[in-house]
Structure formats: structure tokens, C-alpha cells
Point group: C2
Chain length 328, copies 2
């Protein structure tokens, strides 16, 4: 427990929150490399509201690609004191960026000496770093001092797909100087396979373990975790999941007829991509540290409450989403 | 001398070359954030010719921003052996990217607690990382396995504008696994000033010291170094500059009436931005290590010869450019 305190000794305030911007929430799932601009703008605005108290300025002073319009630079900076702000880290998924390139080439399976895999590695990084840049720009436009940081560039690597090297000192320094690091799922080197994909969810778990935020928020495109595919008519939103000391978890709210074991199976059954089950197991590891995890639909009134940390004790009945927390 | 061998022990072949893509050569100097596409494409093609022997594939499989066209993915990968290639590092300047944002906010002078400087820091990084992404894409399209690596993300920082922390292990690993790192001048944290700009030229000197390439090439928008502003009618191209053990340098070719001291002063006098003098002094430090430095106009037949390392011994009379090397 003391290790993370030592790591962050130079911070004047603790880490408030790590936020995952789910790929499905900020991109158009079925359109190759297309950002859901409306969602991204609303998410950025909600994040600014949760992070910064007081006035702030647009920080994207660059032209849009292909646009001839000159960027707007605010001119009311003089003598202004810095606004009070909370420490956040943003991690985003890939959505319709990166997946095409990664699956076409099999980057996640390794084998860098094959020309197809090596090309796919480069192509995947181009795609996910393009998305990263757009997200950094959207946040900066809103006044959030966002700094893009690619796991590969940060020197992060894996061994058999588990994080092997992930030095967080640059992330710590960026936060300590008032910036908001924006990381992303990335293609990385793997000492056993050659290369693989390091997912945003795994990055969040690692950062949460190392830096102990007050809470973690996953912004998704559905209200939260359901007991079956949310498109089915009888799907029930799981409002609260308790994680036990042994790592198992059970649904606390609502009271279900099925046992929690059955829920687990049901969730797994509709989860062909590993998405939701990965999310729950990563979330469970975080919750076991005593850190509340909120899985909530992006751009809603529910997400803004989660981002602001208004759910610490009792979850209000009118809040829709899934809380995953340590069993009391 | 043995330190760099230890560092690069995992490489199967030595570092051939570090190339600087000068901002003026690849962007349109007087148009905000505009890439000189023709030049960038020709530079990429010349680099591919110098690096890769054999067939290669396009590695940019992403849509252009704003374009609806789907990217082309080569489909002739099966069973193909990897082409033989040489180890290169690319570093680029900012040209019409980043300078506007940096000078508007004074990022190079530090003072991160001021809202203007902090905003400018974010804005500068957005601009230079946009350019980095475009250069990575142009190289990848040509078949070069390029990997964008931002100095800030790599954890590099300065103290009173001198490099303080610049761990190159990620660069070394990327090269060892067959990639071409693409770095750039960047806004970084400075332990004394708060922040500053780390220039591409300083990055090149650091990488050359640590990794000992066979030669270094600076691609610029003029033929090389002149004895006065190249726009003046009597300007003479300096073909060869010798660097002495004490760090001083003198013009070997052509034989000039003026002493080398006068040349130095003349060069300094037309160099208000510090550009050419910084370049020569950084180049002199590299040359002192016994590494030849070629300053040459991008996209010419002269640049391709320099990139291919065809100038090791005598400089042919029909090669136009400036060689800076250790005095014999």
C-alpha cells in the first residue's frame, strides 16, 4: 500500500479518477475509422465539468486536417490564475479504429518476423494513434490539458500477453505537472510472442493498482452490465456487483432468481469478443483493491454523476449503471 | 565506446543512419500546418530505397481524415520472406507545425503554472504529433515499418534546456525488432524551467552519441551550408567542413579567401533563428565522434546518395552538399 504513496509523493493532490472511454461509445462501431463526434464532444464536456472548477481555455490551436480555416486561439490569458482541477487519467479503446488492421494481420497472435504481422503492427498503431490524437484534440478543445501517451512509446511491453514492463513514471510526472495523460489500447512488443495487443482495460487495471484512484469509470454504449444481451427483452441491468476477497463476485442488486453463478455463465455466453467478461474481471481486480468501479452509459446524466464521484456511499435509485465494489 | 555496444547487443546489424527530415523540407514554411506532400512522398521513397533491399508492402491501412474511401490493404503477403533492410532512425523538425503554438505561448521559456504556457504546451504537442502521424503514414505507405515515438511519451525531459533524462531503451528495442523509430522535436518537461522545447537537432546528437550510426544525414531545403545567406548572389556552398579535436571547425573545400573564423561569423550573422548555427554545432559534436554528417537538399539525386551512404571516403565533385567530418 505504501509503494503507491511513494510513487506519487510529488503530487499535491491524489488521483481522483481513471476513466475508460469505451471504443463503442466514442466511435461508430460499424463504420471503419469513424468517430462519433457528438458523443465525443459530450463526453469531453462532461469530463471537463468533473475535472475543472472554474474557467478554462481551448487548448487545440491546430487546423483541422483538410480545412483552410485558421484555428482560434483564446486571447484572455493575461494574469489569470490557474483554475482548480482534479487529477484524472483517460484511457480509451479502439472501437472502429485498429480492430480492422489488427484482425486482418493477427497482430494479437504475435509473429513479428512475418511481413503481414509486421505490416499489421505498423498499420494498427497508425490507426489507434490517429484516434488518440482526435481524442486529445477533443479534450483540449474543451479546455482539458490532455497529453497523448502511447503505451508503445512509453516503453510498455508484455510477456505472454501479460504486462511485463510498464513504467508509469512519465504518467506520474505528467499528472504532477497538471496534465491529463490520455493512453490507449496499443500494439506492443511481447517478449514471448513477438508482439500482441495490450487492451485499454488491462492498462486501466495496471494504472489503478499502481496509482490508486478514488474511483474508476467505464463509459460504454449501454447502461451497464446486464444478465443477458441487452437487446433481449427480458435483460436485467445489474445495479451492484460485490467482489469478495477470493476474487469471486455476486450480484447484490437487483435480487435475482438465478444464482450469481448462473448470471456469470449467462454473461459469458453472450460475450463472444471477450469484451464484457474481460471488463468485469478487470473491474473485479480493481474493486478488490477497495476502489469502486462504475460501468455507465456515456453522455447521460448517469455518467456525469459517476465522473463527479457522487456515488461513493449509497447508490441512488434513480442512478442507472453498474457498480462493482468490494463486498462489505 | 563499449557502452553503446552493450546497449545494442541484441541487434543483428548496426545502426546505418540517423536522418533528420528538416521542417523546411517537408512542410510549407509560410503556410500554417501544411505539409509539402510532394516533397514528403519523394523523401519517403528515397528513404525506402536506401533502407530496404527487395519488395515491400504498404503499411498504412487507414482512411484519410475526411475521406470516405476505404484504405487499400495489400493481399500478396503469403509465405513471403522478409526483405533485407538496414537500421535507420528518422527524426523530424516542426516546420510550419508547432512553431506558431510554441511562440504564441512561450513554451520554450517555461513557466507551466501560467495558463497560457500550459495551454500552449498542449497545443504545441497536438500540432507536432499531428505532423509526426502524417510522416509515419507517408513512410508506412511506402513500405517502411515506421513507429511514431514522441520524446515526451518516451519520458524524455530536460534541465535548463539540456537533455536530462532520455532513456533510449524503447528506441533500441524498436530497432532490434525491425522497426524504424520516428521521433520529433517536442515540448517536454524541464526540471528547472517547468517546460521547454527539445529540438530535433539536439535529439539527433543525443541518439548519435548513444547509438553510433555509420553516418547522419540532415535533409534541408537548400543544397547545404553556405558562407552567407544562400539567397545572396555570391553565396558559396561549403562542401567540406573539418571538425578538430578541440571542437573548432574549418572549411576544407572550397578553399576560401576568408578564414574559417570569418565564415563562422558570416553564417551566424544570417542565422537569426539559431537554425544553421545550431545545426553546425550539433553536427560538429557528432562529427567529433568520427561519424560523418551530410547536410543536403531533400528530394535530390544528392540526397539519395547521402542516404545510401555512398560518400564514405572521397566526396565526388558532382555531389552537392556539405560534409562535416573529423579532421584527418
Amino acid at each position: 500500500m505504501d509503494e503507491h504513496r511513494e510513487r506519487t509523493a510529488a503530487w499535491t493532490k491524489p488521483l481522483q479518477c481513471i476513466v475508460k472511454l469505451g471504443g463503442a461509445a466514442i466511435t461508430c462501431k460499424n463504420e471503419l475509422e469513424t468517430i462519433n463526434e457528438d458523443n465525443l464532444n459530450t463526453v469531453s464536456s462532461q469530463l471537463r465539468e468533473a475535472m475543472i472548477l472554474g474557467p478554462c481555455h481551448g487548448m487545440d490551436w491546430s487546423r483541422r486536417p483538410g480545412s483552410l480555416e485558421n484555428p482560434t486561439v483564446p486571447d484572455d490569458f493575461d494574469d489569470q490564475l490557474e483554475s482548480d482541477s482534479k487529477n484524472f487519467i483517460v484511457v480509451h479503446g479502439a472501437g472502429s479504429f485498429g480492430h480492422f488492421q489488427a484482425s486482418k494481420s493477427g497482430v494479437h497472435k504475435g509473429g513479428l518476423s512475418k511481413p503481414l504481422v509486421k505490416s499489421g503492427f505498423v498499420a494498427t498503431r497508425i490507426s489507434v494513434t490517429s484516434l488518440n490524437l482526435e481524442i486529445v484534440r477533443a479534450l483540449a478543445k474543451e479546455g482539458i490539458p490532455s497529453i497523448g501517451m502511447s503505451p508503445f512509446s512509453c516503453g510498455w511491453s508484455t510477456c505472454e500477453r501479460n504486462i511485463a514492463i510498464a513504467d508509469i513514471s512519465t504518467v506520474v510526472k505528467a499528472i504532477g505537472t497538471g496534465f491529463v495523460p490520455v493512453l490507449h489500447g496499443d500494439a506492443v512488443l511481447d517478449s514471448s510472442l513477438g508482439c500482441t495487443i495490450l487492451s485499454g482495460d488491462v492498462i486501466i487495471r495496471h494504472l489503478a493498482e499502481q496509482l490508486r484512484p478514488k474511483y474508476v469509470v467505464f463509459l460504454t454504449d449501454v447502461l451497464g452490465v446486464y444478465d443477458r444481451p441487452p437487446s433481449e427483452p427480458d435483460a436485467t441491468l445489474l445495479r451492484e456487483i460485490a467482489v469478495h476477497e477470493d476474487g469471486s463476485w455476486s450480484v447484490i442488486k437487483p435480487k435475482l432468481q438465478d444464482t450469481s453463478k448462473q448470471v456469470e455463465i449467462t454473461v459469458a455466453a453472450h460475450d463472444t469478443t471477450g469484451g464484457m467478461i474481460t471488463k468485469i474481471s478487470e473491474a473485479a481486480v480493481i474493486a478488490k483493491l477497495g476502489i469502486d468501479v462504475y460501468i455507465v452509459k456515456a453522455t447521460t446524466k448517469h455518467s456525469v454523476r459517476a465522473l463527479k464521484g457522487q456515488l461513493k456511499e449509497n447508490i441512488p435509485d434513480d442512478w442507472l449503471g453498474t457498480v462493482i465494489r468490494l463486498a462489505k
